[in-house]
C-alpha cells in the first residue's frame, strides 16, 4: 500500500507511488485511446508559431483564460470599505460564494457578503420577495449599520428595479425606513469588476449626498478644505491605504478615504471575530460632499463616480495607479496644489531614497523586456515604472481595457525611447498572451496568480503583481504606492531577476561556476 493510516501521504507524494503510477499507465494504455504522442508534440509546437498566433488572434466568440472578473465582485470590494456595511448581492447565491472565496483567497481574511438567493421561481416571477426577505434576514441576523445592494446578471436580465424593491421592502418593514440601503445595478455582462466598483461607490455617495432615495433632503455642499481619496479596486489596498494615510498625515491634510478596506481585510487574531472592522464611517461618507476635491488613484475604477462628484462642485483628479518616482511626484504635487500645503522634507527624503535604490540596481533591470497584464490602471502604472527603469514593457494586455485605454498606453510608449517596440493589447485574454510570449518572447511576465500557467508553458518567469494572488501570501499588506511602495515593487521585480539568475546557475559542476553570492 502506498497509503497507510500510520503515515498519510498528501497528493504530492501519494500519486507518485508505484501502484498509482502503474494504474495510470494501465488506464492510459487500455482505455484512453490516446493520440499518438508525436502528434501531440507536433501540435504543441505548432501552437507556438506565428501561424497559430494568427488564428488565435482571429478568435471572435471565445475568451480563453480571461484576465478580468465581473461587476458585483467590484461592488462587494467597494461596499466592505464602509463602516459596518454588509454587501448584499441581489441575484443568485453561487455568484456571491465566488466573491467571498476570491477575496478570502487573496487577502487571507474572511469576507462577509450575503445574497438574496434567487431561485428559478424568482427568475420567472421577479425577485421582490427575495429582496424583502433577504433584507429582513440580513438586518436581523448580522446587525449591519448599512446594507449595500448590488446585482448579479440574473436580476438584471429580468429587470428587477432596485430602487422600487428597496422602497417596498422598507414599507414592508424589512429594515427601518431610515436605515441606509444604497444600491447599484452591476450586471456582469457589462464591463468588469472595475466597473462594478465604480457603480457601487457612486451608488453609496449618491445615497448619502442626494437625499437617500428621496427620503431626506439633498446635502448642500459647504467646502471644508478636506480631500476625498479613492483607491479603486486594488489588490494592495491594505498596505496602500495605510501608506496613503501616512502620507496625508505627513502633509497635514484633512482627508476622507472613501471605501477604507485596510482594516476589514487585515483583522488581528486576538480571539474576537470581526465581521466588520474599520471602514469609512457613514457620517464621513455623507460629509465627504463638502470636500475641496476628490483624488482617484485609478481612473478606470471611477469613470462614473468622478463626474458625479464633479457635478457636486468638487475638483476631481485621477491617476492611473501611479508607481515609481514620476507617478508619485505627480500625485503628491496634485495634493499640494489642491490643499496649498508644501510637500514635507520627509517625503522628499523618501523620494531620494527610491531614486537611490533605482540607481543602485538599475543595471539589472535596464534593457529587460516585460509582458504585463492586469487591470487597466495597474498596467499603466507598472508600464510607466518599467520605462522609468529603462525596461521595455513589450506586451501590455488588459482583458478589461478598451480603446481609450489602449490609446493612453500607446501615448505612454511614445513618451519614452524604451517604449518604441512595445505594443498594447486591449480586450485580449491570457491565451492571446500565450501566443505572444512564444512569438515575441520577453524576459519576465508581470501578472496575477493565473500567470503561473503562462510561466510554466512558455518558460517566462512570473513576477506576481496584481489581483488575485492566491498562491503567495501577504503581499497585499505592503504598499505599492508612494515612494515606499515604489521601493516594494522594485524589490519584487529584482528578487525575481536574481532568483532567475540563481536558478540558471545552480546545477552542480555544470552551471554553478556563476552561482554567486554577490550580485
Amino acid at each position: 500500500m502506498t497509503q497507510s493510516a500510520e503515515h498519510v501521504l498528501d497528493h504530492f507524494e501519494l500519486f507518485r507511488g508505484p501502484e498509482y503510477q502503474e494504474m495510470l499507465v494501465n488506464k492510459r494504455q487500455q482505455f484512453e485511446n490516446r493520440r499518438d504522442p508525436a502528434e501531440v508534440e507536433r501540435v504543441r509546437e505548432w501552437a507556438k508559431t506565428p501561424e497559430y498566433q494568427e488564428k488565435n488572434f482571429a478568435r471572435e466568440a471565445l475568451t480563453i483564460n480571461p484576465a478580468k472578473a465581473c461587476q458585483p465582485l467590484g461592488a462587494v470590494f467597494a461596499a466592505v470599505g464602509f463602516e459596518g456595511t454588509l454587501p448584499f448581492v441581489h441575484g443568485s447565491q453561487g455568484c456571491v460564494a465566488y466573491y467571498r472565496s476570491h477575496f478570502s483567497r487573496h487577502f487571507k481574511e474572511p469576507t462577509s457578503c450575503v445574497s438574496s438567493s434567487m431561485t428559478e421561481d424568482a427568475a420567472v416571477f421577479g425577485g421582490l420577495n427575495n429582496m424583502i426577505d433577504g433584507l429582513a434576514n440580513t438586518y436581523s441576523m448580522y446587525k449591519p449599520k448599512m446594507i449595500a445592494v448590488s446585482t448579479t446578471c440574473m436580476a438584471e436580465v429580468i429587470g428587477d428595479d432596485l430602487n422600487a424593491f428597496i422602497k417596498t421592502a422598507k414599507e414592508k418593514g424589512s429594515v427601518p425606513a431610515e436605515f441606509d440601503v444604497p444600491f447599484a445595478h452591476t450586471p456582469a455582462f457589462v464591463g468588469s469588476h472595475v466597473t462594478g466598483y465604480d457603480n457601487a461607490l457612486k451608488g453609496i455617495l449618491e445615497h448619502f449626498w442626494d437625499g437617500k432615495a428621496g427620503t431626506a433632503p439633498k446635502l448642500e455642499r459647504a467646502p471644508n478644505g478636506k480631500i476625498n481619496f479613492i483607491g479603486g479596486f486594488d489588490g494592495y489596498t491594505v498596505g496602500n491605504l495605510r501608506e496613503i494615510k501616512r502620507i496625508f498625515g505627513l502633509m497635514g491634510i484633512g482627508y476622507t478615504i472613501l471605501g477604507d478596506t485596510s482594516d476589514v481585510w487585515d483583522t488581528p487574531t486576538d480571539g474576537e471575530f470581526r465581521m466588520y472592522d474599520g471602514g469609512t464611517t457613514l457620517a464621513e461618507a455623507a460629509d465627504a460632499v463638502h470636500a475641496t476635491a476628490t483624488v482617484s488613484m485609478q481612473e478606470y475604477c471611477t469613470e462614473k463616480t468622478l463626474p458625479f462628484i464633479a457635478g457636486h462642485g468638487q475638483e476631481v483628479v485621477s491617476f492611473n495607479h501611479p508607481v515609481g518616482v514620476a507617478g508619485t511626484d505627480r500625485f503628491l504635487m496634485a495634493l499640494a496644489r489642491l490643499t496649498g500645503v508644501e510637500i514635507p522634507a520627509e517625503l522628499e527624503r523618501e523620494r531620494g531614497r527610491l531614486v537611490d535604490a533605482m540607481a543602485d540596481s538599475s543595471a539589472h533591470i535596464h534593457g529587460k523586456k516585460f509582458a504585463i497584464y492586469g487591470d487597466p490602471d495597474l498596467c499603466l502604472g507598472l508600464a510607466a515604472f518599467l520605462l522609468e527603469l529603462g525596461a521595455e514593457p513589450t506586451h501590455v494586455l488588459a482583458t478589461n481595457g478598451n480603446k481609450a485605454w489602449a490609446e493612453k498606453v500607446q501615448a505612454l510608449f511614445d513618451s519614452s525611447p524604451f517604449g518604441k517596440n512595445c505594443h498594447v493589447y486591449p480586450g485580449r485574454d491570457l491565451w492571446h498572451l500565450r501566443s505572444l510570449l512564444f512569438t515575441e518572447p520577453v524576459d519576465f511576465l508581470i501578472g496575477n496568480t493565473y500567470g503561473k500557467y503562462l510561466e510554466r508553458d512558455t518558460g517566462t518567469p512570473l513576477i506576481r503583481l496584481g489581483f488575485p494572488i492566491f498562491d503567495r501570501h501577504h503581499h497585499h499588506r505592503f504598499p505599492v504606492w508612494g515612494y515606499q511602495g515604489g521601493l516594494n515593487v522594485l524589490v519584487t521585480i529584482l528578487d525575481k531577476i536574481f532568483d532567475e539568475i540563481d536558478s540558471n546557475t545552480n546545477v552542480p559542476s555544470k552551471t554553478d561556476y556563476s552561482f554567486d553570492i554577490i550580485r
Partner: protein, 548 residues
C-alpha cells in the same frame, strides 16, 4: 615569527620591481606597500590579500585558522570562476573559541585538517594563519608539517596574519607560500614547447575563458594559472613551463621573478585588457616561447590571429560610434588597468575627459592633471559636492571606476560603470572590450540617470544642491582670490592631509627641490607614498609658477 619577518623583508626587496630598484637601501627596507594609516578608511589586511590570491585554486580546501571573524566575513566573496571543482567555495574555519585562545588552538587545527581530509579528500589543504593564533603562538608550520606526515597529503601553511600589513603584502606572502611548499613538488605527465604560466590572474567573471580559446587555437597550453580556475597539481608542476606572463599587477611579481631565478622561466608583464594590450601580450607570449625553442611559425600564426581578432573587435565596436558622438568618459581607478581600455573607448567614439594618473601617457597626464589631483583612494573621501565639481569640470557623461566609488558617483548624480573586481561582466580579451563598450552604451542611456539628476519637481530650481554648487563655483570663478584659495586647497597627500598650497609655500619658503626635502618639511608623501609622483609634479611645475 622570526621566519615570517624574514620572509616579509625578502618580499620587500624585490629586484624585478623598477620602482623598488630606484629606492635607497633604507627605503627599500621599509617596503613598497602602503603603511596603514590609523583612523583611515582601511582596505583589506594581509590575510585577506593571501586569501584572495589563493582562493581561486579550485580543488584546494582553504582552511582559515582563527576566530570566526576572518572566514565568517569573507567566505565565497569573490567572483572568480571554476570550470570544475567547487571545494574552494566551501568555507572552512577552525572557528576558535575562548579555550583555544587560552590553551592554544593547534590541536583544534590539526583535528580540523584531519576532518577535511577524511570528509573531502582534497589534493591539498591550505591553512591560513590569522592575527589571533599568530599572537597566541600557534605554530601552524609545525601543525601543517605533522599533518602532512600523518596523512601523506600536502598541507600548506600560509603565513600571512592580518597585522603584518595590507592586502598587497598578503598577495606576496601567498606567493611565497607557493614558492616554498608547492611549486616544483610534482611533475606534469607531459610537457610541450608551448607551455606557459599565467601569474596573478584570478579568472574573475570567468574572463580568462575569453582569452583561452585564442591560446588554444595557437596551440599554446596554459600549464598553470596562478591562481584563476587553477588546480593544486598544476601549480605544483608549474616549474616546467617554458615562459610566463605576469598579469599586469605587481601582486605576484615575487612568484614570477623567483621562478625565473630558480627554473629559468622568462616572464613579461602584460595585460589582456584592451585590444592593443591583448595583441601585445599574445605577441610577447609567442616571442618568449619561440626564444625558448618553440617552432618559429608560431610568430606568424600569432600575427594572423591578432589581425583577424582585432578586425572583428573594431568592426563590432564601430556601430556604437554614432551613439557615442560627443559623449565624454572619466576613468577613475585604483589598481585595475583602466588606462589600457582607453584605446577601445576612443575607437568607439568616446571622448576621454580624464583618467587616473597612474600609468597614463605623458600627454594624458598633462590633460588630466587639473581634473584629478587624487587617486581613487582620495575619491572615496570626496564629498558629493567635490565630486560634482570634478565631474562638471570634466564635462563627463559617465564615470568608470571601481565598486567603492560607485556610491559617491551615484550621489553626485553621475552615470557609473563598474570596471573593478566586483563586476559581473568579463572585459578581458577582444570580446571583453566589445562587451565593455556595450555596457557603457547601456549605462549612458539608462533613464535612471535623468531621474537621478532631476531634483524633486516641486523644489525651487534655484535651491537644489547642484544649483548651490554651481553658484559656489561661479563665485570662485568671478573672484580670483577664491579661485586661488580653491586651487591651493586641493589635497595632495591624503594620508597626512597635506594640501597643494602648503607644499607650494614650503617649496618657495625653503627653496626645496627634491621629494625628500618636501617630505621633511611638510610630511607629504610619508604615509602610503602614493602621492610621491604628484609631489614631484608640483616641484616640476613651481618654476613656471614663480615665473608668472
Amino acid at each position: 615569527m622570526s621566519s615570517l619577518s624574514a620572509t616579509i623583508q625578502d618580499v620587500f626587496n624585490e629586484p624585478a620591481c623598477a620602482k623598488n630598484a630606484t629606492k635607497s637601501a633604507a627605503d627599500r627596507k621599509k617596503g613598497c606597500t602602503k603603511q596603514l594609516q590609523p583612523g583611515g578608511a582601511a582596505g583589506g589586511c594581509a590575510f585577506d590579500g593571501a586569501k584572495i590570491a589563493l582562493q581561486p585554486l579550485t580543488d584546494v580546501a582553504h582552511l582559515v585558522h582563527g576566530p570566526i571573524a576572518c572566514e565568517g566575513n569573507s567566505w565565497d566573496n569573490r567572483g572568480a570562476k571554476s570550470s570544475g571543482p567547487t571545494l574552494w567555495r566551501t568555507g572552512f574555519t577552525t572557528d576558535m573559541n575562548e579555550t583555544d585562545i587560552v590553551f592554544g588552538g593547534e590541536k583544534r587545527l590539526y583535528k580540523a585538517i584531519r576532518e577535511i581530509i577524511e570528509k573531502y579528500d582534497p589534493p591539498a589543504v591550505f591553512v591560513y594563519q590569522t592575527c589571533i593564533p599568530a599572537m597566541t603562538g600557534d605554530d601552524i608550520n609545525a601543525v601543517c608539517k605533522a599533518a602532512r606526515e600523518k596523512f601523506g597529503k600536502p598541507v600548506i601553511p600560509i603565513n600571512s596574519p592580518g597585522f603584518v600589513g595590507p592586502k598587497n603584502l598578503g598577495n606576496k606572502l601567498a606567493g611565497e607560500a607557493l614558492l616554498e611548499h608547492v611549486i616544483g613538488t610534482e611533475e606534469p605527465d607531459e610537457t610541450t614547447p608551448y607551455d606557459i604560466n599565467i601569474i596573478g590572474e584570478y579568472n574573475l567573471s570567468g574572463e580568462l575563458w575569453q582569452v583561452k580559446p585564442l591560446l588554444d587555437e595557437l596551440g599554446i597550453r596554459i600549464l598553470s594559472c596562478i591562481s584563476g580556475d587553477g588546480r593544486y597539481r598544476e601549480v605544483a608542476y608549474s616549474h616546467r613551463a617554458r615562459a610566463a606572463m605576469m598579469v599586469c599587477s605587481k601582486a605576484m611579481i615575487n612568484v614570477a621573478r623567483k621562478m625565473e631565478e630558480r627554473y629559468g622561466i622568462p616572464f613579461f608583464e602584460g595585460s589582456f585588457y584592451g585590444i592593443g594590450d591583448t595583441s601585445d601580450s599574445l605577441r610577447q607570449i609567442a616571442r618568449l616561447l619561440v626564444d625558448r625553442g618553440a617552432p618559429a611559425d608560431l610568430l606568424d600564426r600569432t600575427e594572423a590571429l591578432i589581425a583577424r581578432e582585432e578586425a572583428r573587435a573594431w568592426a563590432a565596436i564601430a556601430p556604437f560610434k554614432p551613439r557615442f558622438q560627443g559623449k565624454k568618459v572619466l576613468l577613475i581607478t585604483g589598481g585595475v588597468k583602466s588606462w589600457s581600455v582607453v584605446a577601445a573607448l576612443q575607437e568607439a567614439g568616446l571622448e576621454l575627459a580624464g583618467t587616473s594618473v597612474k600609468k597614463s601617457t605623458k600627454e594624458d597626464k598633462e590633460r588630466i592633471k587639473e581634473l584629478l589631483g587624487q587617486d581613487a583612494h582620495m575619491i572615496e573621501d570626496m564629498t558629493p559636492r567635490e565630486m560634482y565639481r570634478l565631474l562638471k569640470d570634466a564635462k563627463a557623461d559617465i564615470m568608470l571606476s571601481g565598486g567603492r566609488s560607485q556610491f559617491v558617483a551615484l550621489k553626485a548624480a553621475m552615470p557609473w560603470l563598474d570596471i573593478n573586481q566586483e563586476r559581473h561582466h568579463a572585459y578581458m580579451g577582444y570580446v571583453g572590450m566589445v562587451k565593455l563598450v556595450e555596457e557603457i552604451a547601456r549605462t549612458l542611456f539608462n533613464p535612471v540617470w535623468a531621474q537621478v539628476r532631476r531634483p524633486a519637481p516641486w523644489d525651487d530650481p534655484a535651491d537644489t544642491w547642484q544649483a548651490r554648487a554651481d553658484a559656489a563655483l561661479a563665485a570662485e570663478a568671478a573672484d580670483p582670490g577664491k579661485a586661488e584659495q580653491a586651487r591651493r586647497a586641493a589635497g595632495v597627500c591624503a594620508c597626512k592631509g597635506v594640501d597643494l598650497g602648503t607644499i607650494e609655500d614650503a617649496v618657495r619658503a625653503h627653496g626645496l627641490s627634491s621629494l625628500d626635502e618636501v617630505r621633511r618639511h611638510t610630511t607629504a608623501a610619508t604615509g602610503c607614498g602614493a602621492c610621491a609622483s604628484r609631489v614631484e609634479d608640483v616641484l616640476a611645475a613651481l618654476p613656471a609658477l614663480a615665473a608668472e
